[in-house]
Subunit: 381 residues, 4 copies
Amino acid sequence: MPEPAKLRMGMVGGGPGAFIGPVHRIAAELDGKIELVAGAFSQSAERSRAAGKSFGIDPARAYASYREMIEAERKRADAIDFIVIATPNHLHLPIALAALEAGIPVMSDKPATATYGEALQLESAVAASGLPYGLTHTYAGYAMVREARAMCAAGKLGAIRKVAVEYFQGWLSRRLETTGHKQAAWRSDPALNGPGGAIGDIGTHAFHVLEYVSGLQVTAINAALRTVVPGRKLDDDCNAFLCLNNGATGTLACSQVAAGEINEVRLRIYGETGSLDWRQQDPTRLIVKWLDGPEEIRHAAAPYLSADALATARIPAGHPEGYLEAFATLYREFAAALIAWKQGQAHPLPATLPGIEAGVRGMRFIERVIESNRRQGWVEF
Amino acid sequence: MPEPAKLRMGMVGGGPGAFIGPVHRIAAELDGKIELVAGAFSQSAERSRAAGKSFGIDPARAYASYREMIEAERKRADAIDFIVIATPNHLHLPIALAALEAGIPVMSDKPATATYGEALQLESAVAASGLPYGLTHTYAGYAMVREARAMCAAGKLGAIRKVAVEYFQGWLSRRLETTGHKQAAWRSDPALNGPGGAIGDIGTHAFHVLEYVSGLQVTAINAALRTVVPGRKLDDDCNAFLCLNNGATGTLACSQVAAGEINEVRLRIYGETGSLDWRQQDPTRLIVKWLDGPEEIRHAAAPYLSADALATARIPAGHPEGYLEAFATLYREFAAALIAWKQGQAHPLPATLPGIEAGVRGMRFIERVIESNRRQGWVEF
Amino acid sequence: MPEPAKLRMGMVGGGPGAFIGPVHRIAAELDGKIELVAGAFSQSAERSRAAGKSFGIDPARAYASYREMIEAERKRADAIDFIVIATPNHLHLPIALAALEAGIPVMSDKPATATYGEALQLESAVAASGLPYGLTHTYAGYAMVREARAMCAAGKLGAIRKVAVEYFQGWLSRRLETTGHKQAAWRSDPALNGPGGAIGDIGTHAFHVLEYVSGLQVTAINAALRTVVPGRKLDDDCNAFLCLNNGATGTLACSQVAAGEINEVRLRIYGETGSLDWRQQDPTRLIVKWLDGPEEIRHAAAPYLSADALATARIPAGHPEGYLEAFATLYREFAAALIAWKQGQAHPLPATLPGIEAGVRGMRFIERVIESNRRQGWVEF
Amino acid sequence: MPEPAKLRMGMVGGGPGAFIGPVHRIAAELDGKIELVAGAFSQSAERSRAAGKSFGIDPARAYASYREMIEAERKRADAIDFIVIATPNHLHLPIALAALEAGIPVMSDKPATATYGEALQLESAVAASGLPYGLTHTYAGYAMVREARAMCAAGKLGAIRKVAVEYFQGWLSRRLETTGHKQAAWRSDPALNGPGGAIGDIGTHAFHVLEYVSGLQVTAINAALRTVVPGRKLDDDCNAFLCLNNGATGTLACSQVAAGEINEVRLRIYGETGSLDWRQQDPTRLIVKWLDGPEEIRHAAAPYLSADALATARIPAGHPEGYLEAFATLYREFAAALIAWKQGQAHPLPATLPGIEAGVRGMRFIERVIESNRRQGWVEF
């Protein structure tokens, strides 16, 4: 039998009102290698069917639970090839474990799990399963993040001395979680979200993009958490100092009460002879500032970029690709790994695609930030 | 029989080496309402099959010519619902006519045809057919172009006095068309491209976005065409003065020899009390400059935008959507019109989606620019 | 007798309510080589004295007319070394002639005169006098304009193919001249201002900076003038096509009814292999876009700049210099020429400082634009 | 005897090779109210004379020491009205004390002294003398810093929750201090500079602008200092957490090894309903981001600004003022206070002009940062 034209994806989560479910659908299908064919979109059977209909899938494949989906799909000749997890955080682990147990590869939204302990448990399960597991740290999919990463890896800046990453939003400046706002509600509930508020939701992105681009690892953290909005149960603002494994230092700041900021992800990396500056809201440009020459702006898809950055380009320079395309790039890489695996080949995830290791580090980050804040001082990573 | 989940699209053009074919595929499928199922991707049967395989479609539906595709598809129960035309310009008319004759709706890349005469012919055919016909003037799909359009329509700037639109690229600064560069080659050949070089390829975009946003119509043109690169057969640079039907005036400039520019589409509209400024390379922001108050930056997907702009949003503010999403918005609107038509309802294209009228005006623009340049002076539109 | 520490300046114009008088005073004195010691600041003796007092000069040297000033100063041992003309345009010629006749060098605000005929007359007088005559085309004093000029002169862009200069303001979007607004009043009165409205006030600046930076000369113009605000006596908006003496073409646009624009002077120059982009409102940066490599931003006072650009720097890079400093740079160069002249040396103005030749070209520009507009077509320059 | 037209200034420091001396001269004289007439520009009599000549002052008033200057000037009828201190830091205190003792007002470069203990000593001396004492924290002179300050004072952002200030330079990325670079040499020598490296040189500016704009005071600091360049004797990089007296928190970062940064001073202030964002390298714009509406850009000298911001404007909006003008605004305010004092009136410095209180806080900042770094944890301010 020939390979089906497209990999078949089953989604957990992403039902009505969800933000990230449709994003996963678009991103997964964008490059024509994956098709959403099944889902347990909601814990309500009715709502799951409604979502399935909106996604245009076979009504029989809109399930009321991930367990039901796994069980039913296993029996089909055209079973799903992998599961994407797009639920609130507390469900990440059980879904992932159930999928892996059933021999189904996993693509998961971040953070990998709700707690660091869970992440370690998942890491073991992934290893034991031998199955592909990807983690959608979206910003890793941007062309110019790849360019920055390639420049660091090639030593273009000399030794890295200093980093500064920030992720500022303002949307939780008011106590939205008590107004029926679904996204705010689960993120503010420790039982659904895990112990990290802003640090879990967006701080993990900042942490990941920093390590991903610099190629360095955080070795110690000194973090100050705050809950700015009265009544809120989790942190909504964080400033942290970092030590990195090459002796560099840096800062990580994230906030969801930075009123007026929309989705300001910015990464700066300072080396001996120059620095990089990338902002997610201006994603097609990478600013390179040299100690001894003019500032540079590198543009996505321009022919002078590194191979890694060019590999992400779908359209010529000057035609902006954005968030969905970055997401899609991760899915494209996951699909390639999956196909290799299905063909019995070695299937290491490419180094450019975040996996369980990044997931464990992200959960460790949350745990260490909370511990540092408790101690009001430095903790080892 | 229930409506199939997705509309079935057949593509003409877009074979190996094409830029715009894959763009149409991604854009059409992005919102989950359309699926590419057939294509005459190349005039070589072999190359068409190769393209079909890369798109993951049934090999039997990769045809060697659009005529073959139309004929074969008519006989299928799961026939294509519409044709997208993504060929060099000289084929736009015959393909569109053949499709309409066969009762198949058309989504066409711009410009609508190769000459103004052809455009009039197509206009009649579209009218006679009663079929939906859409034109992918991409920039019309950007959220902030919609916001600008809504602001003009609502008179937020007072009477419009002055416009300035430009579309600058640099990629034809060298004579690429003699180097085997496929995109450059057909665009530089009057037989394949029609009589307008830069003005046809990108000037028509500038012209369209100007009329689309301002709600005004050009009534007279004074244009100066140049062929800057020696040996080139068509214009590669154009400056034009415009008169508009409300008494405003303006400029339109386009160039493909503006070395260093990538894809600089910029539209400015000046009214009595303020002005708008939009750049395609920074597409999620609309700058509004007021005569009597601070400058404003409006962000895509922000809740304060007009309904038309918000209707395009797939993801929250701060998560950039780009060129493919703008393109997809046009397809989404076309799909909705198509479904209405298939259900026997009235199916006027929404005012936000360019159709044959825009196509005729665009071809008229090319014709008038060439005539003005010949006369070295003003011509009525 | 040793040279006095500072050159002594006498000002004509610049009385109460004037914008440009205090600017000349600050700019002239900024580098410590010139001191304002006398003035005929107003045609009212009382107002002239009031202005003199505000400038802190000896009350005896606040004169009621330029003739009185010239006569009185000639008799002083510490007579003024030069005159600066900061009046409405119709007085530029008579004042300049009177000064030159009295052997007094002249620094004049632009435009050089009120009409082209007057400019030719002044050109002869300057030549006959053998005296230094400078013209304060401010933008020529900006560091990054100098850098752009040096890059063009050195052929860094290859042959120049295309230029685009614009100068947009919005402050005359309403009919201010009837509201008692002094600046608007004289600029809108042909008798005081000369025949060019926006083209005289700001178009001449745009024209000058274009020729100054490119090193090219305009050889033909096709211009469309408008008076947008009803009742206004002079043009307030202009679009023009240009031909340049190396075969390049371009556009010049100026407007004082571009609502929302403050003082948007922008110059772009496109060569075979790259382009320059400078905006006066972001004056310390010069954007250089290469056909084959990343975009560059060059920063004022950075060590990698050309000698001409560095020569203007007073403070290290990153400490912005602005409009007054650009103005002062012209005065600094004028002062150096004046000192050489006083010492009996040759005193050609440096090529970087605009003089009467630039003044004649500027007045010719106004005259040719008006003629082109009258003919509605091309005129030779 | 009538008041002399201009206040007479004597400078200490600012000899050949100095950066800040000429800046003080230009800034002091820019508004026509002050004149540099004397100086002890260098500890070498010869070099002082050379500097005096370059400044165009009477050779008899170029002194070899500040003591000599004070003594000599006291005997003149046209004695200096105040002293400006522009020396390396270790001389700030003795010069200021000598001047105050002699009854001469003082304008001092920052930091006020070399150590916190000295600052307290100076504070007492200033109080005892009853003389005006100003401190040139330049950034306080920028129009849009004044606008930001006025907005905070008026509660436009609601309660302030979060601040972030940074001052990044890259010029000490190499060990310049061993290469004969005068500016680098004294700044890197604890004996001449005091105990704070980057934190003294630029951190104090960041600290000041933060308190100045927000109207808040730092109450606790947790700072991490580094000396990145091997062999350097003082810190060249600092990250600090801050607590403010209204419960807000924030960060302060400064570095002189941020390769590629020129002089990046940026201040962000987040309130309940919006935020402010100002960058010194784009000084004429203040970005205001609202929680519930479009982002705003306020432009220097625009009529809608606060009275405090407009009071600094010398030229119309769109004509950029920069660093020298900001500096000059401080001198203009100092001059007004001085004139009032000379006339026997009350002469409190205006609240907009930094004085000894700001100086003491700045020195306390350095001391507290060093102590926090020593303890590796929080210290009270």
